[in-house]
């Protein structure tokens, strides 16, 4: 594939030229965080990049990888675990016990899915989130908050955004099923709606009203899918004999991580740069090393 035109655009040419593993992630900010986690010396073998066209997000990554893979087998994508729901494979995320998972679908060749809802979950689970929060409190709270209070807030936020994520997964899964059957899809119910300051119940009621008004899917269909997903999730934990802490961690793994951190920041430090602090803290630890080894093993 030697002519530039046969390879693709300048980025595709560059990727083939450098002879390294290229891992497209959902944006440049994510790329920098992944470098922090995996260690910047990983650059000798592997480069993280945001998609050069189509903005960010999992769709742009998947489109890009599909375009480049035919000429460059060293190109991969690393997307949020929640993206599997769009392919009707949310169960793969729910049952994942590893750092990453793949789909068998040939349309997702070269795509790695995070074993968490998204990168923020990985950061929150693998770093010491309460410690980072306490170190980055807004001035008026310094000395006023204990670690126990922060841990309680995290648990509460996890409970909300675990449920919020289940609603989102259910809507995305139903959308996928409808489209596969040739029918009109339904709208994705964004879990970030639960950031609404009026509270969980008000938001839930509004979502129900929205669903009813749109008429693309009934609340009953949605509730059945939420229940199915929840039972599958809980069932696995029961089978594994998970204790309270493990259940809490499992919920944190699949909760809407971005919204969870936003809610906590609103409470403790609106301008907090916790993601980068967490990523820096993780880099160089055993977890960072494991992440790096797993990633290299799955891309070589």
């Amino acid at each position: 594939m030697p002519r530039f035109g046969e390879i693709g655009d300048p980025t595709a040419v560059e990727n083939l030229y450098v002879e390294k593993i290229v891992v497209y992630v959902e944006g440049e900010v994510d790329a920098n965080l992944y470098y922090e986690i995996a260690g910047s010396d990983v650059r000798g073998h592997l480069e993280f990049r945001g998609p050069p066209v189509g903005g960010g997000g999992s769709d742009a990554v998947i489109t890009r990888v599909r375009a480049e893979r035919p000429v460059n087998a060293k190109v991969f994508g690393l997307v949020d675990g929640e993206a599997a729901a769009k392919a009707g494979a949310v169960d793969k995320l729910l049952e994942c016990t590893d750092l990453f998972f793949r789909l068998d679908d040939p349309g997702f060749m070269g795509i790695l899915f995070l074993g968490q809802h998204e990168l923020e979950n990985l950061l929150a689970m693998s770093g010491d989130l309460p410690d980072v929060i306490l170190r980055d409190l807004e001035p008026r709270l310094i000395g006023q908050i204990t670690r126990e209070e922060v841990e309680k807030s995290i648990t509460e936020a996890t409970r909300i955004f675990f449920f919020a994520a289940l609603i989102k997964y259910a809507s995305v899964t139903l959308n996928h099923q409808f489209r596969t059957a040739g029918a009109q899809g339904c709208r994705t119910l964004q879990s970030s709606q639960f950031l609404d300051r009026r509270g969980f119940r008000v938001t839930l009621a509004e979502i129900r009203a929205q669903v009813a008004a749109e008429g693309e899917v009934t609340w009953g269909q949605l509730r059945r899918e939420i229940r199915r997903t929840h039972q599958a999730f809980v069932g696995r934990l029961r089978t594994a004999g998970a204790d309270v802490h493990e259940v809490s961690l499992a919920k944190l793994r699949v909760a809407d991580g971005k919204s969870l951190l936003k809610l906590l920041k609103r409470r403790y430090s609106p301008g907090g740069r916790w993601e980068s602090h967490l990523a820096t803290a993780i880099g160089g630890t055993d977890f960072g090393e494991t992440f790096r080894h797993h990633l290299l093993a799955m891309t070589t």
């Binding site: 594939m1 002519r3 530039f4 035109g5 300048p10 040419v13 560059e14 083939l16 030229y17």
Partner: protein, 381 residues
């Protein structure tokens, strides 16, 4: 015979057992990927490029490709030069170029194949390929061998091929001023990657510079430290012989080296001391006071403007050498402008600079530029 050439372009290079290309025959196409802005893609994408980027990891043939193109033309120097002039050379190479040949007032589209190391051509252009792929009406064949240090045409050559060979040989060392016959003949200027720029030391004198006059191929490995090979000497020589092209050359060099509106400029050489000065806001400095990067750019621009003919192939290995990324981009923009104003000039360059892949951007059409690129991969060698 009165022969002039226009629209001179490299079509492809075929190598066999040369450098790292040891597994059969490899052909590198120099066709464009993107036609110039304003040209219908249907009319142009297969046309030979006038700006071509060649990239590859180290050690798999990037420089060999440039050396091979240079080597084919350098065979026609007297004595023959380049990698194919050695009696130890055992491989085979064919270079295909297309141009419009004006012979005794008649224009014809001609594909020239020059080859060495093989009895017949490595690529045998059938009539249909000549017309459909090369878009030429006639095939000029030039089969070469080096005998007693000089290139000779072999019997597989044809009349057209021999005609060009003869014209180029007769023009050797002729001055390349715009009125001379040789200014319409093909030439090749090669800047290898091991070029060095060291200000000349010692005595300054008026002496005919290396590379003065027409040659099929020039290699500019270094500027200095010997006086005879320096830019300082070239400029002093041109001043001394009253070369009418010197003011234009300096104007072009200043435009591309410092940019329009710059307070810096290279002045005409001082005939008394054989020194060329650069005027700057802080005073006058000799060329030797220029930074390494400026001197590297100066070397390229002066050599191009001093030695190019109406049909010139410019080869630059590792074009970014000595240059900060900002200067590299500026130089690249300059070369694009030179190409846009010089219809018979083709630039083929290599680079290891990843940024340049994006600056070059083969997907974006630009006026007067047919862009092409080739990545040599391990599979090819």
């Amino acid at each position: 015979m009165d022969l002039a050439i226009t629209d001179w372009r490299v079509l492809q290079l075929t190598v066999k057992d040369v450098g790292p290309f040891r597994h059969g025959q490899t052909t590198i196409s120099f066709r464009g990927e993107t036609p110039p802005k304003g040209v219908n893609p249907g009319d142009g994408p297969d046309e030979p490029a006038n700006i071509f980027m060649l990239i590859a990891p180290n050690g798999i043939g990037k420089t060999t490709v440039l050396e091979a193109i240079y080597g084919m033309f350098a065979l026609l120097n007297r004595p023959s030069e380049g990698m194919f002039s050695s009696p130890l050379f055992e491989g085979a190479v064919q270079l295909d170029l297309r141009g419009t040949w004006h012979i005794d007032g008649f224009a014809r589209s001609v594909l020239l194949s020059m080859w060495i190391g093989s009895t017949g051509p490595l690529i045998d252009w059938k009539d249909v390929d000549l017309e459909e792929e090369a878009r030429a009406s006639e095939w000029a064949k030039l089969s070469l061998a080096v005998i007693a240090g000089e290139a000779q045409t072999l019997e597989e050559s044809n009349d057209l091929g021999r005609a060009l060979f003869r014209e180029m040989q007769e023009a050797l060392k002729e001055l390349t001023d715009p009125q001379s016959h040789s200014s319409r003949l093909p030439t090749l200027l090669y800047f290898p990657a091991d070029r060095s720029v060291i200000a000349p030391q010692g005595e300054r004198m008026v002496i005919r510079p290396d590379h003065w006059g027409y040659q099929p191929a020039h290699q500019f490995s270094h500027d200095g430290p010997e006086w005879i090979s320096s830019i300082d000497n070239l400029l002093a020589w041109m001043e001394n012989i009253g070369d009418e092209g010197l003011p234009d050359l300096l104007q072009s060099v200043n435009e591309h080296l410092f940019g329009n509106g710059s307070e810096k400029r290279v002045l005409p050489p001082d005939p008394t001391h054989h020194l060329t000065f650069v005027e700057t806001p802080t005073g006058f400095h000799p060329l030797s006071a220029l930074s390494h990067g400026e001197r590297s750019l100066l070397q390229m621009f002066v050599r191009v403007f001093a030695h190019m003919t109406e049909n010139t192939i410019l080869l630059i290995d590792e074009i970014e050498l000595h240059l900060h990324t900002r200067w590299m981009n500026r130089m690249f923009e300059s070369f694009k402008r030179i190409l846009q104003s010089s219809a018979g000039l083709t630039l083929i360059f290599t680079s290891h600079d990843r940024e340049l892949i994006h600056v070059f951007n083969h997907k974006t059409p630009e006026p007067g530029l047919t862009k092409g690129g080739f990545l040599i991969t391990q599979e090819l060698v």
